[in-house]
């Protein structure tokens, strides 16, 4: 889903596209879907709507500071940030191009979200994700929780490397 930019706000959106996500710098905050809306009023006030990826994402504070700083540098002095919760962020918003960038960065991209599955399947641990380094499917799911809230941990039995997956949510 592409962020909504109000009339004349495209240059603002361009500035925001220059801000990498602090935890996944391969993607900028617009293509990650954190920026939900941008508005530029005739009196110069810029409103940016952001949505958190995860409820407790510790990077949100930093992202908000970077938005204000980047806009100031580009001459937008009056910035208002608004947090929106609905619709809830989903990895389904990532474009194919963004997923390719993740893979090139060494993180397995998310599959499609599956909404209807048993709550405690057990079998979910047999889920196989292709290794972003060598492409092998001879991999093992190690943990649903990784170095950041958005990643799971897998292990590739062929290149013998652990790797992370941007989990579908």
């Amino acid at each position: 889903m592409v962020s909504r930019a109000g009339a004349g706000a495209d240059p603002v959106l361009e500035v925001l596209r220059g801000i990498p996500d602090p935890e996944v710098p391969a993607l900028d905050i617009v293509e990650l879907g954190i920026v939900r809306g941008v508005e530029l009023r005739p009196d110069g006030l810029v409103t940016v709507e952001v949505t958190p990826t995860y409820s407790g994402c510790p990077a949100m504070g930093m992202i908000e500071q970077e938005i204000v700083a980047a806009l100031r540098t580009n001459g937008y002095d009056r910035v208002e940030l608004r947090t929106v919760y609905s619709p809830a962020w989903t990895t389904d918003w990532l474009s194919d191009a963004a997923k390719a960038k993740l893979k090139a960065y060494g993180i397995a991209p998310p599959g499609h979200t599956v909404t209807e599955q048993p709550l405690v399947p057990l079998q979910s641990m047999i889920r196989r994700v292709a290794c972003p380094h060598c492409g092998s499917s001879n991999t093992e799911h190690r943990s649903e929780f990784g170095s950041t809230a958005c990643k799971a941990i897998h292990y590739c039995a062929d290149c013998r490397q652990p790797f992370e997956e941007f989990k579908a949510i």
Binding site: G56, Y85, E144
Partner: protein, 259 residues
């Protein structure tokens, strides 16, 4: 003892109470889980519990922020988290109980997660856009949480003789704290329909999820008996005060400090 409450509450007062319940459950459980950070039985689980703690504390932040706005007395999420005493906390007694061993932490987590995922699922449709939005996000996270805790209950219950024994003991010990999940009081009645799903209506689905996992874990569901109560009215176990003293000391020693 707190003052007796007036017989009826306005919708705003009830909504404030309800948001405190949602926030406090997650704040206290998140804090408990964070105590495992650096002490987990294996690296993956250490990371997993810290992740779940982060989700829960994040959810609490959002619920408490809205609670402060609804109350309209200028209290933000930090004021609510750090400057209320145990008697003003509205969390379930279940979530404040000490971690114990890993089995006990996991059983407590599973009993909560199985309930939380059902509640948040319903709250997505609440007639309060902000509450519904926070719930919709939290619901997705809760699905991960219940999968994690549920699968560990199965592994530990159906594991070694020792892990089975400890997990069964934890289930027996924690079971009397689950009655509180399904109590209905005036706050729920004031918000019934538009916001709060009937707590009692969640019980059959919760029992289904719990019984299924308990069976697969080769454990035995405890017999029905006395259920503890009081958390929603500020009557807590002695453990909450100790937890709060650790959680709140920095903010209270250095009011207004930022870092």
């Amino acid at each position: 003892m707190s003052q007796p409450r007036p017989a009826s509450r306005s919708k705003e007062e009830a909504l404030f109470e309800y948001l405190l319940r949602l926030g406090d459950d997650r704040l206290i459980l998140g804090h408990r889980l964070s105590e495992w950070c650096g002490h987990g039985p294996m690296l993956e689980e250490d990371i997993a519990l810290a992740n779940v703690a982060l989700d829960l504390i994040g959810q609490a932040t959002h619920f408490l922020r809205v609670a402060g706005q609804v109350e309209g007395k200028g209290r933000d999420e930090d004021a609510l988290a750090y400057f209320r005493d145990a008697i003003d906390y509205r969390n379930l007694n279940l979530v404040e109980l000490p971690n114990g061993d890993y089995g006990r932490t996991i059983v407590r987590q599973f009993l909560f997660d199985a309930w939380s995922v059902l509640l948040l699922g319903r709250l997505q449709g609440a007639a309060h856009p902000e509450l519904a939005g926070i719930a919709a996000k939290a619901y997705k996270e809760a699905r991960y949480h219940v999968r994690h805790s549920g699968e560990w209950v199965i592994r530990l219950g159906d594991g070694t003789e020792e892990s089975h024994r400890r997990t069964q003991a934890a289930l027996d010990e924690l079971w009397p704290y689950t009655g509180e999940l399904f109590e209905t009081d005036e706050v729920d009645r004031v918000l019934a329909g538009a916001i709060s799903p009937d707590p009692a209506a969640l019980e059959p689905s919760w029992r289904e999820i719990v019984s299924d996992v308990v069976r697969r874990a080769t454990l035995t569901l405890p017999a029905e008996g006395h259920m503890h109560t009081g958390g929603r009215r500020g009557r807590h176990t002695e453990h909450l005060g100790h937890l709060l003293s650790e959680m709140q000391i920095l903010a209270r020693s250095h009011p207004g400090a930022a870092w």
